[in-house]
């Protein structure tokens, strides 16, 4: 489905942001997806970190430019600038810490305040490998995702579970929106300027459904 590709070789460039409370595992989701690495003792993210990876969707190369933001409250005012131009987001909570699930609403509001209304959002319950410590049920999270009209998956960056799926799903959905839009206008999607981040102006919600991959 997807393979690591040379950086310059892509048809679409989509900007994604990773948001959620401090310590939920955003940076490890990113490193798992972009470098297939996991670090139990990774440093806290200060400001923003950035990585890219290209995947194949249909016959097109989609390059994801992923911005991993600092989770602590204090950094929000600054990190909001990083949202500009984002067409997809992974909103992450920790299934073993209920408070990180409670805070998701605030994150969602902030995201919607700073991005295009049609941004594709994947709600991600990370650390699903810690089964004995679970504090947030899959049902609760699924209900939330349905209510907020976002996608939903539970992941484990440690066990490499669903990480690929979560990112790929977001990228694929964005791709569908963009290519459908291009089709509607009778435009060639490949003609879109390279290197420009594509804004999802179309109505994404029409194609949204809750993808469920609980573990």
């Amino acid at each position: 489905m997807s393979a690591y590709r040379a950086d310059e070789d892509y048809d679409y460039l989509f900007k994604l942001v990773l948001i959620g409370d401090s310590g939920v595992g955003k940076s490890n989701l990113l490193s798992r997806f972009t470098r297939n690495e996991f670090n139990l003792e990774s440093k806290s993210t200060i400001g923003v970190e950035f990585a890219t990876r290209s995947i194949r969707v249909d016959d097109k190369i989609v390059k994801a430019q992923i911005w991993d933001t600092a989770g602590q409250e204090r950094y929000r005012a600054i990190t909001s600038a990083y949202y500009r131009g984002a067409v997809g987001a992974l909103l992450v909570y920790d299934v073993t810490r209920h408070v990180t699930f409670e805070n998701v609403e605030r994150w969602l509001k902030e995201l919607r305040d700073h991005t295009d209304a049609n941004i594709v959002i994947m709600f991600v319950g990370n650390k699903a490998d810690l089964r004995h410590l679970r504090a947030v049920s899959t049902e609760d999270a699924k209900a939330f995702a349905e209510r907020e009209n976002t996608y939903f998956m539970e992941t484990s960056a440690l066990e490499s579970l669903n990480v690929e799926n979560a990112f790929t799903e977001v990228l694929t959905q964005i791709y569908h929106v963009v290519s459908r839009k291009a089709l509607d206008i009778g435009d060639d999607p490949a003609a879109l300027p390279k290197g420009e981040t594509i804004n999802v102006k179309d109505d994404v919600s029409a194609v949204k459904k809750v993808g469920c991959c609980s573990v």
Binding site: S44, I78, Y82
Partner: protein
């Protein structure tokens, strides 16, 4: 006072520096350092306990010459001599420190305390001051740590486990590292209590290494504390204006590079220099280099922030050719994972910048 003797030594030390072309990548950062007992050097009497292992020779040509060893020894005796004076000449100490302090023997620990103003230049007062300060700290701890703010405490605990996981001083389950983490935990909690507008901000754990450290930490952050304060983000002393000062400084010194970053590739200082500045460069280099950089930060007569901005600007200038040929993604990746570089060269570039950041720096 010893006159004339020290300068030639420092100069010859400089000549021995091996210059590297800009932007050369020297491989991965090595973690071969024993912790240099950041501020609490006084507790360690055995010099071997914190001697750093020599970095592998970059050129493999055995460039660590006899001359270099002699220069290092002379530098050490210079610092030892200065620190043994009844009245320490801060001016002179600054000058020596700006060229890099010697590792081991607690010299750096003592010099940093002096440079931070935690120790007075009068040797005779040290014992009294240190005793008083340690008592004060013990009292503060008793008063304030009885009922720690749980949310802050949890955040601190999470971050402490993620502080320099590659260094024995902080990580692992040894009683040594546990003791250090506990000390840091108290320092950060206390700081949060005493600074309710700032409390605890992620990243502070990177800056601090118990009573002496606390006071030094407070003094160290007094210069950059406004960066941690959200209410000040948009004020002239906040982080955003510091970031734009960096852009100004770059523009003044290299307009071509400034244009390329700011407009062509749209790599804003916010994306890479935020961490550089708030963490005083502690996440960008290997530990030995960080110590060397801090020697320069603390010894700068115009204050920590002035030198910090100069070094940040120099970091950009030293990567000029790579940055000019890079696009947004490549440049961001490069600046967020700054390659190994000859630190002495970097600091010289920083020192030689034409602009005067002190005019808009409010520090000192």
């Amino acid at each position: 006072m010893k006159n004339g003797g020290s300068d030639p030594v420092l100069e010859s030390g400089e000549e021995l520096e091996i210059m590297e072309p800009n932007g050369i990548e020297l491989g991965h950062k090595e973690n071969v350092y024993e912790f240099d007992d950041l501020v609490n050097g006084t507790d360690v009497d055995n010099e071997d306990a914190f001697r750093t292992r020599k970095r592998p020779d970059k050129d493999g040509s055995g460039q660590v010459s006899v001359m270099e060893v002699i220069a290092a020894d002379e530098k050490r005796s210079d610092v030892e001599y200065e620190l043994s004076q009844k009245e320490i000449n801060l001016e002179k100490l600054r000058r020596i420190a700006s060229m890099g302090l010697p590792d081991g023997g607690g010299l750096r620990a003592t010099a940093w305390k002096l440079l931070l103003g935690y120790l007075s230049p009068s040797h005779d007062l040290w014992e009294k001051e240190l005793t008083e300060n340690r008592q004060k700290y013990a009292m503060l701890k008793e008063e304030l740590l009885l009922s720690p703010h749980t949310e802050i405490a949890e955040q601190i605990d999470r971050d402490l486990l993620r502080t320099h996981p590659d260094m024995k001083f902080f990580s692992g389950e040894s009683s040594f590292s546990k003791k250090n983490r506990e000390a840091m935990r108290k320092i950060l909690l206390l700081f949060a209590k005493l600074n309710p507008a700032i409390r605890y901000v992620q990243g502070m754990n990177e800056v601090n290494a118990e009573a002496d450290s606390f006071s030094c930490f407070v003094r160290l952050l007094s210069d950059s504390v406004d960066h941690f304060c959200q209410q000040l983000d948009n004020s002239p002393v906040g982080i955003l204006s510091t970031l734009s000062r960096l852009a100004e400084l770059l523009k003044e010194n290299d307009e071509e590079l400034w244009k390329h970053l700011e407009f062509t590739t749209k790599v804003k200082p916010q994306f890479y220099a935020f961490r550089w500045i708030t963490l005083l460069l502690t996440q960008e280099f290997n530990f030995q280099s960080i110590l060397r950089i801090w020697d320069s930060l603390l010894s700068n007569p115009f204050g920590i922030q002035d030198m910090l901005l100069r070094i940040c600007c120099a970091m950009l200038l030293c990567m000029k050719s790579r940055l000019l040929s890079g696009d947004f993604a490549a440049n961001l990746r490069l600046l967020q994972h700054y390659p190994d570089i000859n630190i002495e060269h970097l600091l010289r570039v920083a020192q030689d910048l034409s602009a005067d950041t002190s005019s808009y720096s409010l520090s000192l």
